[in-house]
Amino acid sequence: MGESIIKAINVQKEYRREGNIIRALVDINLDIEAGEVVFITGPTACGKTTLLNVLSGLDLPDDGQIILDGENIARANEDRLSNIRRQKIGFVFQDFNLIETLSGIENIEALLWPTVLSKKEVENRAIQALRDVDLLERKDHFPRQMSGGEKQRIAIARAIVHQPRVLFADEPTGNLDPTTEGEIMKLLRKLNEDMGMTMVIVTHQEKLLSFADRVIQMERGRIENIKGKR
C-alpha cells in the first residue's frame, strides 16, 4: 500500500433547507493514496460535490476528521485552510472560473501573486504550467477569446502552477463537448502520470470512469461501493 494523502474518518454533514434536515454525508470513511486518480460518481444530489468540498477544505464537516497530508483540516481555521489550499491543493471548476479581465498567463500567475516568489519566477512557473497543458501559444489571449476546452486548460494550468499534492475537480468536463472532454481527461491523466499528482474528480459521466484508478459510487450521502485496484 502507498502513502495515504487523504483520509476521511466518520465524516457527517447535514444541511437545513426549508425546515428539513438533509443528510448530505453519512458515515464517510475513505482513504486515498498519493498518486491515485479517484472518481466520485453517483446520481444528482447524492452528495458527491459535498464530499469533494469537505475533502478539499472548502466546506467543513459537522463531525468526523479529514486528514490531508497528515493534518486534520476539519478543525483548521480559515487562514490555515487558505494556506493549505495555496500549498497543497489545486482546483478545477466546471465553469472554469477564470478572471475575464486577465489574460491566460495572468490568470495562472494570479495564484502566485500573494507569494514571495520573484516576478521572473512567477512568470517562469506560469509558462511551465502552460507548457504542461500544451497551450503556450494562447498565453496572451483573454478568456473571451478562447474555446471552452482552452479555458479549461488554462484553469488546469492555474490549478497545477504551484505544484499541489492533490488536484480536486468538480465536473471538469461538464461544460465541454464530447471530443474536448476526452482531451481534458487524457490531459489530467497525463499530468497525474508525469507529476504523480493525486486527483479527486467528481463526475456523473460514466464513460469517463475508465480514466480512474478507483471509482467511489455514492448514493444518498453514503458511499455505496468502491470499485478499482485496491
Binding site: 468540498n53 472548502l58 466546506d59 467543513l60 480559515e78 487562514d79 487558505s82 494556506n83 489550499r85 495555496r86 500549498q87 491543493i89 489545486g90 482546483f91 471548476f93 465553469d95 472560473n97 478572471i99 479581465t101 486577465l102 494570479a110 495564484l111 501573486w113 500573494p114 516576478k119 492555474r158 490549478a159 504551484h162
Partner: protein, 180 residues
C-alpha cells in the same frame, strides 16, 4: 505591494467602470473642494458644504458596494485557490484607492490648467480672464484638494468595510454557490 499593483491593473482593465467612477469622483471632488472653500467665505454656505460631503460619502459607499458585488465571483474563486481574507482585502482596497487617486490627480490637473490659463490670459489675453482678480486665484486650493482627498479615502474605507464584510465571512465554495 505586488497585490496592490495588481489591484491597479484589475481596476484599469475594467475600463468602463473605471472611467465612469473616476469621472464621478473628479466631479465630486471639485464640488467638495468648492464647498469647502465656501466655508471660509464671508458668508459661509454650510448647507451646500454638508450636501456635497454627504453626496460624496453616499456615492463613495455606493461605489465600494458595486465594486465588491461585481467582483464577488472573482473574490470567491481567489479564495478557493488559496487567497486569504487579507489578500482579498488588499486587492479590493487597492482598486478603490487607485480609482479615488485617479479622481484626485485629474482634479489636480484641472486646477493646474485653470491657473495656467489664468496666468497666460493675464499676460497675453484680455485682463482678468475667467473673472479672476489675481491670476493665481482659483476656486480650488491645494489645501482644500488635500482635505477632500483625505475625506474621500476615509469614506472609501468605511464603505468598503461595510460592503465586503459579507463576502469575507462566507466560505469560498458557499460564495460560489450563492452566485450561481
Amino acid at each position: 505591494m505586488r497585490l496592490f499593483s495588481k489591484a491597479i491593473k484589475l481596476a484599469m482593465r475594467s475600463k468602463r467602470r473605471y472611467i465612469v467612477f473616476t469621472a464621478t469622483y473628479t466631479v465630486l471632488m471639485i464640488w467638495t473642494c468648492i464647498s469647502l472653500q465656501d466655508m471660509f467665505d464671508e458668508i459661509p454656505n454650510y448647507a451646500q458644504t454638508l450636501v456635497a460631503l454627504f453626496a460624496s460619502m453616499f456615492l463613495s459607499i455606493l461605489y465600494a458596494w458595486i465594486i465588491v458585488n461585481y467582483r464577488r465571483t472573482e473574490i470567491a474563486t481567489l479564495k478557493c485557490v488559496g487567497y486569504t481574507n487579507s489578500n482579498v482585502r488588499t486587492l479590493i482596497v487597492g482598486e478603490i484607492v487607485w480609482t479615488t487617486l485617479s479622481g484626485f490627480f485629474i482634479t489636480l490637473e484641472i486646477l493646474i490648467h485653470y491657473i495656467a490659463v489664468n496666468v497666460l490670459g493675464w499676460f497675453i489675453g484680455p485682463a482678468r480672464p475667467l473673472g479672476s482678480v489675481d491670476p493665481m486665484d482659483s476656486p480650488i486650493t491645494l489645501l482644500n484638494l488635500l482635505i477632500t482627498l483625505a475625506i474621500f479615502l476615509l469614506v472609501q474605507v468605511v464603505g468598503m468595510l461595510l460592503a465586503y464584510h459579507r463576502v469575507l465571512k462566507v466560505r469560498p465554495m458557499m460564495a460560489l454557490r450563492i452566485m450561481k
